[in-house]
Symmetry: C2
Subunit: 371 residues, 2 copies
């Protein structure tokens, strides 16, 4: 067994604290990874506080991981010791359902859906139709730790030229906005709206711009206007003044090919639905909960859709990393030591982060030395 150290919460109301635990050494087809950096996603906060009512404790978050391979298990073909690699939200899936066979592991239809990097299977045995747990894990410990062991199909390569710390959030915030833009066909000249300018939103803006789209940001934070423009947003609409917002929106009604909602909680999407072109979709990638009622008149009259999209496939995770390397795109990050994680969580909840915290896992080593 590998002695490991991470930061975990023991209850929904507890702070993250150091936790010593053990990981199985790399078996056949698996690699051991020394974690260098781990992004802090808003979903980490939701999960730690059991806001989706599915948290398994102790909860050790972290699914935006960059590290270095320290050992490759038997029959590993794609990675060797020393490789700079990434791990995102998934570390396994059933690998046999139609979605997995189509390379869309994030939509795995196996009895337990996919295996999350932390918090275990998306459908735990207790909720699976079969009552089975094909992964044998009720819980998994994520990237807020010094070491990970992951099967190689769920490990990606960090391309040369990407800052390893900045590469971390691309694997969730990046791919979560990349995947729907590819699926709904964003291309040069597309008009894309982005609701919310946080971790996901700011990556959506950068990626859409690099794809050649014209991007409009909808934010309630007037102080983010400059940042949005610097990232390439052509228009910035402020949501704060409802009246001017509606007037502005009326002027642009019907113009978007795709609107992504990156807001991490329930909100009213009706003011945005009316801004979609015929046959265009508003895709919710930020919130996983019941949304406010949607007026079907505005949907039906232009054959619009409200859809959702979940992270992206492993292939898309690799693809967006390469796209970022090629186009010189990176998230705006603030590097913190893991000892500041509880403060960071509070700032994320109050929206006081620009735009992604990334934990420098070297800070964890200090703790080990002290222990």
């Amino acid at each position: 067994m590998i002695d490991a150290l991470g930061y975990a919460a023991k209850h929904s109301f507890s702070r993250l604290k150091p936790l010593e635990f053990q990981r199985e050494p790399a078996g056949a087809g698996e690699v051991e990874i020394a974690v260098l950096f781990c992004g802090v996603c808003h979903s980490d906060v939701h999960q730690v506080k059991n806001e989706w009512s599915n948290t398994v404790y102790p909860c050790m978050p972290g699914h935006e991981i960059v590290g270095r391979v320290t050992r490759a298990g038997d029959r590993v073909t794609r990675f060797k010791t020393g490789d700079l690699v990434g791990v995102g939200c998934m570390i396994d899936s059933c690998r046999s359902c139609p979605s997995c066979q189509a390379g869309d592991e994030q939509y795995c239809e196996g009895p337990n859906s996919w295996l999350a990097t932390y918090n275990g299977p998306m459908l735990p045995a207790s909720k699976a139709t079969t009552g089975e747990n094909i992964y044998g894990h009720d819980n998994t410990f994520g990237g807020y730790s010094d070491v990970l062991v992951v099967r190689e199909e769920f490990v990606v390569r960090i391309p040369d030229g990407l800052d390893p710390a900045a590469a971390a959030p691309i694997q969730c915030a990046g791919v979560t906005t990349w995947s729907p833009m590819k699926h709904w066909g964003v291309t040069a000249g597309s008009k894309v709206g982005v609701i919310g300018l946080g971790g996901l939103g700011h990556m959506a803006v950068k990626l859409a711009r690099a794809l050649g789209a014209e991007v409009t940001v909808f934010t309630r934070s007037p102080d983010k206007e400059g940042a949005a423009q610097a990232m390439g947003a052509t228009h910035v609409e402020l949501e704060k003044d409802a009246k001017s917002q509606l007037e502005k929106m009326a002027a642009t009604a019907g113009r978007f090919d795709l609107i992504l909602s990156t807001v991490p909680e329930k909100h009213d999407i009706n003011p945005f639905v009316v801004l979609l072109k015929r046959d265009a979709a508003l895709v919710i990638v930020g919130a996983l909960e019941p949304m406010a009622p949607v007026d079907n008149q505005q949907i039906a009259f232009h054959r619009r859709s409200v859809a959702g999209s979940l992270i992206g496939s492993i292939a898309e995770q690799q693809e967006v990393l390469e796209f970022c390397a090629e186009h010189g795109i990176a998230p705006d990050i603030e590097i913190i030591p893991i000892q500041e994680i509880n403060t960071a969580f509070k700032k994320i909840e109050s929206g006081d982060v620009r735009f992604r915290y990334v934990i420098d896992m070297a800070s964890l080593a200090r703790e080990k030395t002290e222990a």
Copy 2:
């Protein structure tokens, strides 16, 4: 001017009563039609009672019309006196916006959207951004009348072999379910769910079956089970017993390529969303109002969509009439004299109709003789 007679409501709380009025004679490009039959759509009830808050009075409904051309105006090229023709929900559109140019007049983006067969422009001047009314009508009188005058681009041909009375509802109930099935790619082997087995629902079942799809009906009326099976539904799931419903649904979870909600009012679609395959859509064609909140977790986890669709194009109206003639499909109708329209409205509201009332407009002539 043409002296005309129809049935109209003067207020939201009044019964439909005979109303004498005048129509402009056919101008260039227009045809005069003697109305033979007119279907009674649930939307007629909504409109008469001002349930969408947009009714103009007097309100003379009727948009499932079959009649005979009695005169063709100048420059009419497609129709001549004696032709058996149909008119559906639309009698004009801006004819220049991208949607109209694409042959999707039902999604007209002109200042007043399309011109409805009754109740005037979809966007009246008071609600149009420009304040204009490109049609010059604040109100239009529909097919609950003896004569119509319509420009020929919005008139379709009733194919030989279709019963004229049964052809009437195909132009709304038929095309409204046909259009989304074509748009979302229903084909042989598709698995289609139909929520509600009324005027729209029963046409959806027949059309989907004729396209080669496997059809499941969701209805709260156990006494409609036999009818659904006779129409070709392979499965009939009853919504009445919530527990058995959920058990049955769990067994079929994730199996539908398309689900059409034909229920003409707000309802909870969440139990149906979970039955969609990855990338599949639930399309609402029955209700034009805010729907119950939808859980985005069930949407995002399989990249599902909730969409809406509005009637169909004129080309699709012609297409579905021909498809019905070719496949021997017709709605199940009950022919009534117009004098029974108020009773029919009550039965539609209580769900006590199988499956479409069609007014035999010969009954109106009796009234004229008496007058």
